[in-house]
């Protein structure tokens, strides 16, 4: 899986980071990191605040000097180039629109700096692309959040950069607008065909928009791949918990038989396809067996006989249920673990499934994934889950702020 840096400077790569790292004093924001982004892709860097994703982005833009390693854009080493000499543009968090210039001049800024005299047509076309033509002579503060966001995109895109960097571009928008802008950005990316690198803490946003997602944690990339691939085959507990939710059951391997791992946890037998286990285990080892809440079917204990054979089963008792429209979310206590989550689509609701009811959780063994039991089982759960940073618009101090560990500046501001 590792790409040696000696491979050809493939023309298909828009960005190639080699051993890039960033330290602030004794704090390591980004551990030496290799990353290749294919040209034309919509790439997402996903992680909680303080995981180093913004620092990585800023090193690509040239706004942060790496402590080591190199940055290549389309095969050219740009590590030593200042930001204004790099063919990349950034959509900043909270946009950083120039308050003393109108929308037209904001969008024309990059063209004018490169000495292009007649900008009228290009600016006009770009404003049309983001549907802001009539507002060209307004000042940024007279625009709504969504409009400002589109100006920021237009201002960057008009320069036809090799790579467009987006730093939490939707963080300051409300939920509905964010959904709308996700589609809008995706449409623009398809239309212009430029490589987008999108930094976000919102896993749903990353999965909706990107064709490749890299999940970052504590200055390292935990896993990288297509959204569905990451979701179905998480490689670590962090990815399993951060990307959606997972039920992780600690189990002991009792045997390996024909590509299937046989497990036991608190006396309940489970099976797991060996190919879906990230941990190389044999009988006697421990493993974490994971299953997504929506893969599980919930049956009342009275109906136990109706469950088809060959499915993984776990006994439990409902402790809580909340109705959320399309589905009902249950929390089930069981001998294999507390508070297992189950999403049951609201097709035919079983009136017996109320808190206190004894139930059987069962699922197709093919939907089980295996993880190394040596990891923190709670990595990536809610404690890392932060509200959108900087929603209020308080300018984070210098660039260093992006490297402050979670719970530092961001937590204090909230």
């Amino acid at each position: 899986m590792t790409t040696p840096s000696t491979t050809s400077e493939a023309t298909g790569d828009a960005v190639r980071l080699t051993g890039i790292s960033k330290t602030y004093g004794s704090f390591t924001a980004v551990h030496p990191l290799d990353l290749t982004v294919p040209a034309g892709s919509f790439f997402a860097l996903l992680g909680a605040s303080g995981c180093g994703k913004t620092t990585t982005l800023r090193m690509i833009a040239g706004l942060e000097d790496p402590s080591g390693g190199s940055v290549r854009l389309g095969g050219r080493d740009v590590t030593a180039l200042p930001p204004y000499k790099r063919p990349v543009n950034t959509v900043f968090q909270n946009y950083a629109l120039f308050p003393h210039l109108d929308i037209y001049e904001n969008v024309a800024f990059g063209l004018r700096r490169r000495g292009i005299k007649s900008v009228k047509q290009q600016v006009g076309e770009m404003l049309d692309l983001v549907q802001l033509g009539p507002l060209a002579r307004r000042r940024p503060h007279q625009l709504s959040g969504g409009q400002q966001q589109r100006v920021a995109v237009a201002r960057a895109l008009i320069n036809k950069p090799q790579v467009l960097l987006l730093d939490e571009p939707l963080g300051a928008l409300d939920l509905k607008l964010r959904r709308q802008m996700q589609l809008e950005l995706k449409r623009i990316q398809t239309e212009v065909g430029i490589t987008f690198i999108h930094v976000t803490h919102d896993q749903e946003e990353a999965m909706t928009m990107a064709d490749t997602v890299a999940v970052m944690n504590a200055g390292r990339v935990e896993q990288m791949g297509a959204p569905a691939d990451l979701y179905e085959n998480p490689a670590s507990t962090f990815v399993a918990n951060f990307l959606g939710t997972s039920n992780l059951i600690e189990a002991e391997v009792t045997g390996v038989l024909g590509g299937t791992l046989h497990l036991v946890s608190a006396g309940q037998k489970l099976t797991l396809p060996a190919a879906r286990s990230r941990a190389d285990v044999t009988a006697g080892d421990r493993v974490l067996a994971g299953v997504r809440p929506e893969k599980i079917t919930l049956a009342h204990r009275d109906d136990e006989d109706a469950i088809p054979a060959g499915r993984n089963r776990v006994q439990g008792r409902i402790v809580d249920s909340s109705f959320i429209g399309v589905s009902t979310q249950y929390l089930v206590d069981s001998p294999v673990g507390a508070e297992l989550e189950v999403f049951v689509p609201n097709v035919e609701r079983d009136a017996r499934l109320v808190p206190g009811a004894p139930v059987i959780l069962h699922w197709n063994p093919e939907h089980t994934f295996g993880l190394d039991a040596a990891q923190d089982i709670d990595a990536g759960t809610e404690s890392d889950d932060e509200p959108a940073p900087g929603g209020g618009g308080a300018p984070a101090a210098a660039g260093a702020a992006s490297a402050v560990p979670a719970g530092g500046a961001g937590g204090a501001a909230a």
Binding site: F92, A96, F98, D102, G110, R139, Q142, R155, P395, G399
Partner: protein
Amino acid sequence: MRPIRWLRKNLVVIAGVLALAYLILPNVVVLVFSFNKPKGRFNYTWDHFSTDAWQHPCGVADMCGSLTLSLKIAVYATIGATILGTLTAFALARYRFRGRAATNMLIFLPMAMPEVVMGASLGTLFLNMRIQFGFWTILIAHIMFCLSFVVTAVKARVMSMDPRLEQAAQDLYATPLQTFLRITLPLAAPGIAAGALLSFALSFDDYIITSFNAGNTVTFPMFVWGSAQRGTPVQVNVIGTAMFAIAVVLVLAGQLAGSRRKAKA
């Protein structure tokens, strides 16, 4: 019951208006007595109405000369203090460096020092270095005490500026010089203007420090001081009123222009 409740509710406002009256009263007196034709040399008691002083504002020996000198010093001191102060403010607001705290302290001290102390010590130095008192010593002193005020005003403004705006400019192909000229300077302009305005007012109005460093040179405040002993000419009131009126008109015009630009945009 009603009037008492009204009084209680508006007590603060009444006190505020009285304070404002206290602040404005001397200016009203200056205005009124600029139309006086006093009997003796002292313009303290009202005698009868006259526009003589307004028709001959320079009718007093040396007054307009001192006024011109004060304006000249104020302009030069403003330019000097604004340039030096702005550079210093940028260093303090934008960089972390060894000696930053000490520099902050150095900037703060002149503002925490009674003028008489600063004036006397600078005067002693000039005296012992056998430097001729006059225009240049006054200018040096004025730049010295205006500097801190410019630094404070500009620093506050620069610190409140979002550093990402400059990063965005660099990201959009602006060289450091272009970034400074097109983004940083326009955004910092209100702070620089405030510092310059303050410098001008402080320099033009200074008497205490000037008196220690002027020698035989007479600035406008020094002329007023000297005339206070012999009897202040009515023309001094004319100048005072005219300055007040010009300042108010300029400020109002600036505000009007500002609000019109906002409305247009």
